[in-house]
């Protein structure tokens, strides 16, 4: 069973490589040291960057000031409110004060503030304040029942694909944001709001020109 042996098969390139070592039987065997190390450092570096970015992202919290993240909301039929034609873009509402509320029909604390929100809406809807309700991870039938139950008439729409919530880094529902005429967040509440609270903020913002 003798065969002619394969010719000396060490590629010439590796012998002439500047850091010309190669390792027998190992994961990076056959490669020049520098190349193997470069790849390793590169991959680790990439991974570190991804993890760092992920960590940064995980630690981001709800906006309490600065420009409010823009979004597009497709309204439920029958709930146009005073926001305009569906789909509503937040950036189109510049010049008006916007009250943005995240809720869900299965959320118990949301029910606490539902009446308050509707009452505040009734008070301010003709004063240049737009109310937007974003229904977060909910079922349309149950959401409509909820809206009917509290007699809500302002603009409401589902957060389709759960895209709007993550933009505001919400940690749950309910959460309310009040955005001024220039599109900046001026008030953030990560629990149910009251009429008094909301009215106070809106009065203040409406006085600004």
């Amino acid at each position: 069973m003798s065969e002619s042996l394969p010719p000396e098969n060490t590629p010439k390139k590796s012998e002439q490589a500047p850091v010309g070592r190669y390792f027998l039987a190992g994961l990076f065997g056959g490669m020049g040291l520098s190349l193997g190390m470069l790849i390793a450092i590169g991959v680790i570096g990439l991974f570190v960057v991804i993890l760092a970015l992920g960590l940064f992202r995980a630690n981001q919290t709800q906006p309490t000031s600065g420009p409010a993240p823009d979004f597009e909301l497709t309204l439920f039929d029958g709930y146009p409110g005073n926001a305009g034609q569906t789909p509503i873009k937040l950036s189109d509402l510049k010049g008006k004060v916007v009250v943005l509320n995240f809720w869900a029909s299965w959320c118990v604390p949301c029910a606490q503030e539902a009446a308050d929100l509707q009452a505040t809406y009734a008070k301010y809807k003709d004063k240049g304040v737009v109310f937007l309700g974003v229904d977060w991870t909910d079922i349309e039938g149950d959401a409509r029942n909820y809206l009917k139950r509290f007699g809500i008439t302002y603009a409401n729409g589902p957060d389709l694909g759960t895209k709007i919530g993550p933009r505001y880094h919400i940690s749950g529902v309910p959460e309310t944001y009040v955005i001024d005429r220039d599109g900046n967040v001026q008030f953030t509440k990560i629990s149910p709001v009251t009429v008094a609270e909301l009215s106070g903020v809106l009065d203040r913002l409406l006085q600004q020109k």
């Binding site: 065997g29 029909s105 299965w106 389709l160 694909g161 759960t162």
Partner: protein, 170 residues
């Protein structure tokens, strides 16, 4: 010219690889959806069969059939409702994805960036295998005689060595 040993080993390897590939494909094919129930009554089992493939949109990493919150019960009811309307499994999944995002699926659809999820391990495997084979061919000693089963190096125990000797005579 390749040595005979190596040829045989390579052949065995490819046979195994092909078998595994068949296994993989059959698994992938096997997960085509189940036909929708034809009868009007939708059972909890029908709902669970679909819910099992989805995750709760709110609570992270909780399968929809196991999740016990009120919201999850509503979602299961929604699935039941859609099934009784005659919608197919795929339609229900698409509906949930449109409403809540791709993360509700336990198995992301093999498109877009999710494709990378399936491609990456397989590509990694193929690249790794090619690399391994190349490495092994490179590392073979030169000037070898006919292959012989050589005894194991001393293991530090004379009984074991004697046992090994006897095993070879077995």
């Amino acid at each position: 010219m390749m040595k005979r040993t190596f040829k045989i080993a390579l052949f065995v390897f490819w046979v195994v690889a092909v078998l595994l590939l068949i296994a993989l494909t059959s698994v992938a094919l096997a997960q085509t959806g189940t036909p929708p129930p034809t009868k009007q009554d939708v059972t909890a089992d029908d709902v669970n069969r679909i819910a099992k493939q989805m995750y709760c949109p709110v609570c992270e990493n909780e399968p929809l059939d196991a999740c016990r919150t009120a919201a999850c019960q509503q979602w299961r009811a929604q699935i039941g409702q859609m099934l009784s309307e005659g919608q197919s499994e795929q339609q229900i999944k698409d509906y949930f994805v449109a409403r809540y995002g791709a993360r509700v699926l336990a198995q992301p659809p093999a498109q877009g960036i999710s494709l990378l999820l399936y491609v990456l391990p397989i590509v990694g495997l193929i690249v790794g295998v090619i690399f391994l084979v190349w490495l092994l061919r490179r590392l073979r000693a030169r000037g070898t005689a006919a292959p012989v089963a050589t005894p194991a190096p001393p293991s530090g125990d004379e009984y074991i060595d004697r046992v090994e000797q006897d095993l070879k005579n077995f």
